[in-house]
Amino acid sequence: MVEAVSLGQSGASPDDAALLARMQAGDGDAFEACVRIYAGRLLLVARRILRNEEDANDAVQDAFLSAFKGISQFKGQAQLGTWLHRIVVNAALARLRNRQRHPEKSIEALLPHFGEDEHQIDPPVPWKATPELTVQSEETRELVQRCIGELPEIYRIVLLLRDIEGLATEETAKMLDTSTGVVKTRLHRARQALRSLLDPHFRRGDL
């Protein structure tokens, strides 16, 4: 199960409702308890997006401060964990936008190319079987994480938000200040590009 999902699901407990009520009443110990319960999980989310420990720490701090500032308005319509998850994603994206921008890599080279006959110039080759044990192995997970890290940033972020953080298309579009159509196209391109990066490893049966 993806951590972001479990983050949301774990927020449904009665303990969270009590914690929320105490925070809304200004109980300092409750704020500390909230940080101790959720900071580790929020840090994992921020690390995935920012890939830099210092920036991830700063994003988690931004997220908690923002959450605490708005705690009186939080009506419990979402689970506490889900609410904090959305806030840390936003905080991490804000940090990402403020980072010194590097020239964006092009995704073109990683997309399929077609000849005049409309067939792919490099025809797809079937992949070797990938049993669940292989999919879950540390080696495979590291390889896939590395390949995701090679995607151009705007595609990597859409893939993370949609497939890993489990956000809906509409929510992703809102967070990235773009349209749902752009999110859908970028997600498809990101998956195609990731497929191209994984292809040499799986077609040859390296794993």
């Binding site: 992949w127 879950q136 497939d163 292809d199």
Partner: protein, 82 residues
């Protein structure tokens, strides 16, 4: 439908709510094109792999706690802000 169109709109075939007529076009192409069958399979497995890459393994311990230094920094910042 040709390979270019199949590849371009593959995500609609897999996840979109296509009318039966359009789905039939994709199915017809797949029945005739082993390359697109291979592409479709590897595309779906890519999604499976990326989702697994960041999920906690079944036997993983609970998520690590944040460093104490970070927790204290957050609590100090909250005190300053309030």
């Amino acid at each position: 439908m040709n390979c270019r169109e199949f590849t371009e709109f593959l995500h609609e075939y897999l996840f979109g709510n296509l009318p039966a007529e359009e789905r039939a076009e994709f199915d017809k192409h797949l029945a005739e094109c082993p390359w697109c069958v291979a592409y479709l399979d590897s595309y779906q497995r890519t999604i499976q792999l990326e989702k697994a890459a960041f999920s906690a393994p079944v036997d993983a311990p609970p998520p690590a706690e944040a460093p104490e230094e970070l927790i204290q920094a957050i609590l100090r910042a909250r005190s300053r802000a309030s």
